[in-house]
């Protein structure tokens, strides 16, 4: 039998539970004025995006864009799907209108400069350096005996003593075979952002010998049939303005390696550079 005191305490607890409002873990972040804060943030974001268009200074423009992108990352989950999508479209349009930097650098230290070819704009890299290539060789643990296949001529200073090294890491790497180019490309480029330059572009660059992205086609049908019959494969190479088909294991003492990337990727690289600077 319950005691009188116990009954009174149960009643009081019941009254307390009914009268006092309860709180849950699902309470909104903003109470009462939350919608207004979101709307304000949304307006600020739109202003940021508009300022991207108005800003003349390259770095400031990119920083505004970066801020806008970060804000959208935070704000996006709080917006409706349609609203978020609309703002993303505005942000994308602003990205398209970002000024083009003259030079950018990727995470492997490779610098790209802007080249204009008619209506087309691309970013062409400096020559691959011995230091960059050494980083790839060591990271991928390439067997030292394979180096002769990748760099068959003594046109470089890369050596192996437990690890690969070069006393001249800033020197342009000369004499890389097509096999070597493909290997480095696969390691450097995880997002298909980089390609070999086209033969057209390379022909415009004086005194450059470089593998090109173009598929090599033999115009003489008889030779083409014979080459196919005997398993030959040629890759396009440009040697100081002359386009030729060369065997992929071939090399040349003046052969350097360059890559191109798109305007869009160059902008992303510039954003990353700025982010690294501000960190």
């Amino acid at each position: 039998m319950l005691s009188f005191q116990r009954v009174v305490s149960h009643v009081l607890i019941l009254i307390f539970a009914l009268v006092v409002p309860t709180s849950t873990a699902q309470d909104p972040l903003f109470v009462d004025g939350a919608a207004e804060d979101i709307a304000e943030s949304r307006r600020e974001l739109r202003t940021l995006i508009r300022n991207v268009y108005r800003e003349k200074s390259l770095d400031a423009q990119y920083q505004l864009y970066a801020s806008a992108a970060d804000s959208l990352d935070e704000l996006g989950p709080l917006l409706s799907a349609d609203d978020a999508a609309a703002i993303r479209r505005h942000l994308y349009a602003a990205f398209q209108r970002l000024q083009l930097p003259n030079e950018v650098r990727n995470s492997h230290g490779m610098r790209f400069r802007r080249v204009v070819q008619g209506a087309d704009v691309q970013y062409l890299s400096e020559a691959l350096t011995e230091g960059m290539y050494v980083a790839y060789l060591n990271d991928r643990a390439i067997p030292p005996e394979k180096l002769n296949k990748l760099l068959p001529q003594p046109t470089h200073d890369i050596s192996f003593e437990g690890v690969f090294s070069s006393p001249t890491p800033r020197l342009s790497l000369r004499g890389l075979t097509y096999y070597g180019v493909v290997g480095y490309h696969g390691w450097m480029d995880k997002t298909s952002a980089y390609h070999l330059p086209s033969a057209d572009l390379l022909q415009r660059l004086e005194k450059v010998t470089c593998w090109a992205s173009d598929k090599y086609e033999i115009k003489d049908h008889r030779r083409s049939d014979a080459v196919n019959m005997f398993g030959g494969k040629f890759r396009t190479i440009v040697t100081t303005g002359d386009v030729a088909g060369e065997l992929p294991e071939a090399t040349h003492p003046k052969l350097t390696t360059h890559y191109v990337t798109s305007v869009a990727h160059a902008k992303k690289l510039y954003l990353q550079e700025l982010a690294e600077v501000t960190e």
Binding site: M229, F230, G231, I237, L247, A250, T251, H252, P253
Partner: protein, 309 residues
């Protein structure tokens, strides 16, 4: 008074006229005699195959003699009584007299001798003329690879080779690809399984470093390392960016287990070839369709003013 002979002749003629007639016929053939013989020597060449690292042709001298002969017949006289149509007549051979038949022309082709130790000019197809000398047995080796060069075009079904010199004249050899393949041991007549993985290939240049204008000779050495299984209908072809290194065929044929074969080709280095290392491959093709490759290089020395590539 009339001479006695005349009177007797008159009497005899009168008597004859009154008695028989004689006709002359061709009798049995006694012999033939050669009226004239004109000699027409000519050359005939044939493709022998691959000998001492070169394509070999044998040139032989023949004679096409133009002979005129006629038959010689007995002279027959048949005497008949003209008043008797059934008279078979009396046949008599006139001794010492013959009738000649009409001349008849015949030809005889006789092999004389190999065109040994003779210099010949020759060219294959539209290619340039070159010279070579036959040996003691009339065999000429195509050291300049004039014939092979014409056959590098795999669609070429035949090639005509003309050998000539001032003293012996000229001969034309029509070499079809079928005959060429047959004599080189490249057979398309059967289908057999091939084991190209058993193939081991090595190549040797006759020099380590060349100069522009020189001729580089490459010898391919192939062997079938397998214990069983042939490599069937093996062909090779040079593949290179440089047209003077590209497109040379190597004819190897079938390789039985543990069998070896060699084949050599010449590469004429142009006078303006750049110095440095030049890359080529020998691509192979056999009946199985696999295409193993043998990468090679050729080095041209830097000679002062010559441009390097």
């Amino acid at each position: 008074m009339m001479p006695r002979f005349t009177v007797l002749s008159l009497l005899l003629c009168t008597a004859m006229f009154a008695a028989e007639t004689s006709d002359v016929y061709r009798g049995r053939m006694v012999r033939t005699e050669e009226i004239s013989r004109q000699s027409n020597p000519f050359l005939r060449g044939q493709f022998l195959g691959y000998l001492d690292g070169k394509l070999a042709f044998q040139i032989v001298m023949f004679d096409r003699a133009e002979i005129f002969r006629r038959a010689i017949y007995e002279k027959l006289i048949v005497t008949r009584d003209p008043s008797n149509p059934d008279d078979p007549g009396f046949r008599s051979v006139v001794p010492g007299q013959f009738i000649q038949g009409e001349p008849e022309r015949t030809e005889e082709v006789n092999e004389l001798a190999p065109a040994a130790n003779r210099a010949f000019r020759y060219h294959a197809g539209e290619g340039p003329e070159t010279t070579a000398r036959t040996n003691d047995t009339g065999v000429l080796l195509d050291a300049d690879e004039a014939v092979l060069l014409q056959l590098e075009d795999l669609r070429q079904a035949s090639v005509q080779i003309v050998f000539s010199n001032q003293s012996d004249g000229a001969c034309h050899v029509e070499l079809t690809r079928a005959e060429f393949n047959n004599k080189m041991g490249i057979s398309y007549e059967y289908q057999k399984k091939s084991y190209p993985k058993n193939l081991k290939a090595a190549a040797e240049w006759d020099k380590q470093i060349y100069k522009p204008g020189e001729i580089a000779t490459l010898t391919l050495k192939l062997s079938n390392r397998g214990e069983n299984g042939d490599v069937v209908r093996l062909l090779g072809r040079s593949l290179s960016r440089w047209n003077w290194l590209d497109g040379k065929m190597f004819y190897l044929g079938d390789l039985a287990p543990q069998e070896r074969a060699t084949f050599s080709r010449r590469f004429i280095i142009p006078d303006d070839a750049p110095a440095g290392i030049h890359y080529l491959r020998i691509g192979f093709n056999d009946i199985s369709g696999t295409k193993p490759q043998l990468p090679l290089t050729l080095q041209i020395a830097y000679t002062g003013n010559k441009q390097s590539h």
